[in-house]
């Protein structure tokens, strides 16, 4: 928990283990350069926010994060802080590692102060999910093997985040650009989903069968 986090020291940081750390080497060897590359981005700061965006507290929180998304799929935010829509009154704030208060960041504190005694929640969920980055021209084909959403760029635009299932694992899928996706699985599913994605990527390492 944030309240019990010790002050940042070199020792603390080296002891942290990300949920898919076990697969780091496998991601390295399993990535197909120029086709589909997979990596884990560890320890991003994530904050679960539950608030009515039209309430006073919602507007105060929006001014901290740079807006709250209005509907499913939208991503709001300013600078390197993004807010993903999870539900009508539920949002996920994603920020860089340094934004966490155990590393001296003030994002959580600012959000808590913005909520004040308004109706809602601000909860540090940084350890809840990990982040996979899937990039490359084949990344859509990899995801389509286990995701029932229409991932065609005509339907799924860049800058859209949807919570859905990939390989039967509940994830938040965020399309960063035409050929790159961020996938947020819960920590306990990270290893399974990592191996599932590696398996889905494997065919692109071989020459295409005409």
């Amino acid at each position: 928990m944030a309240e019990t986090a010790a002050p940042a020291t070199k020792k603390n940081l080296s002891l942290r283990t990300s949920p898919a750390a076990l697969l780091r080497a496998a991601f390295e060897t399993g990535s197909v350069r120029g086709s589909a590359e997979l990596s884990e981005t560890s320890f991003l700061t994530m904050v679960g926010v539950r608030v009515n965006r039209d309430s006073g507290a919602g507007q105060r929180i929006a001014s901290v994060t740079g807006g709250l998304p209005a509907k499913c799929g939208e991503v709001a935010g300013a600078g390197d802080t993004s807010v993903l829509w999870l539900g009508p009154e539920e949002f996920m704030v994603v920020a860089p590692v340094e934004a966490h208060e155990s590393l001296g960041g003030d994002l959580l504190q600012a959000l808590r102060e913005a909520l004040a005694d308004g109706e809602g929640q601000v909860v540090d969920l940084s350890a809840n999910r990990t982040t996979f980055e899937l990039t490359g021209p084949r990344s859509r084909a990899v995801l389509e093997k286990g995701c029932s959403l229409d991932l065609h760029p005509r339907v799924l635009k860049s800058g859209t985040a949807l919570s859905t299932e990939i390989g039967n694992i509940p994830v938040v899928l965020w399309k960063i650009s035409d050929e790159s996706f961020r996938i947020f699985p819960r920590a306990s599913f990270a290893e399974f989903l990592g191996r599932w994605l590696l398996d889905a990527m494997r065919e692109y390492a071989s020459p295409e069968v005409p």
């Binding site: 999870l86 009508p88 029932s148 959403l149 919570s163």
Partner: protein, 113 residues
Amino acid sequence: MLLISCPNCGSRDETEFHYGGQAHVPYPENPNELNDVEWSRYLFYRENTKGAFAERWLHSTGCRQWFNMLRDTVTYDIQAIYPMGTPRPDSPAATSSNPGTKPGTTAPEGATK
């Protein structure tokens, strides 16, 4: 596989949803005054409708919100999707004028489960 149109998220696979049983089963006003038979009626007895059936669904993998659905138990045709707490849109006229209904998003005729 059903395609269910969530009021918040749009059309999604049935696997993203959880079934919540029959809709519009009111909690007894004075549960303490019920005898065991009446209480068991409330707890366990549900309609076994052939045809249009009002039921609750939860979009558990998406927006995590509950909603009601009017579904044909024979054809799986989804006739209406409407918010929790609103009355059942029974007649065809009420169905077409319901704001929660999105035309053209029902499952195809004869969709199998």
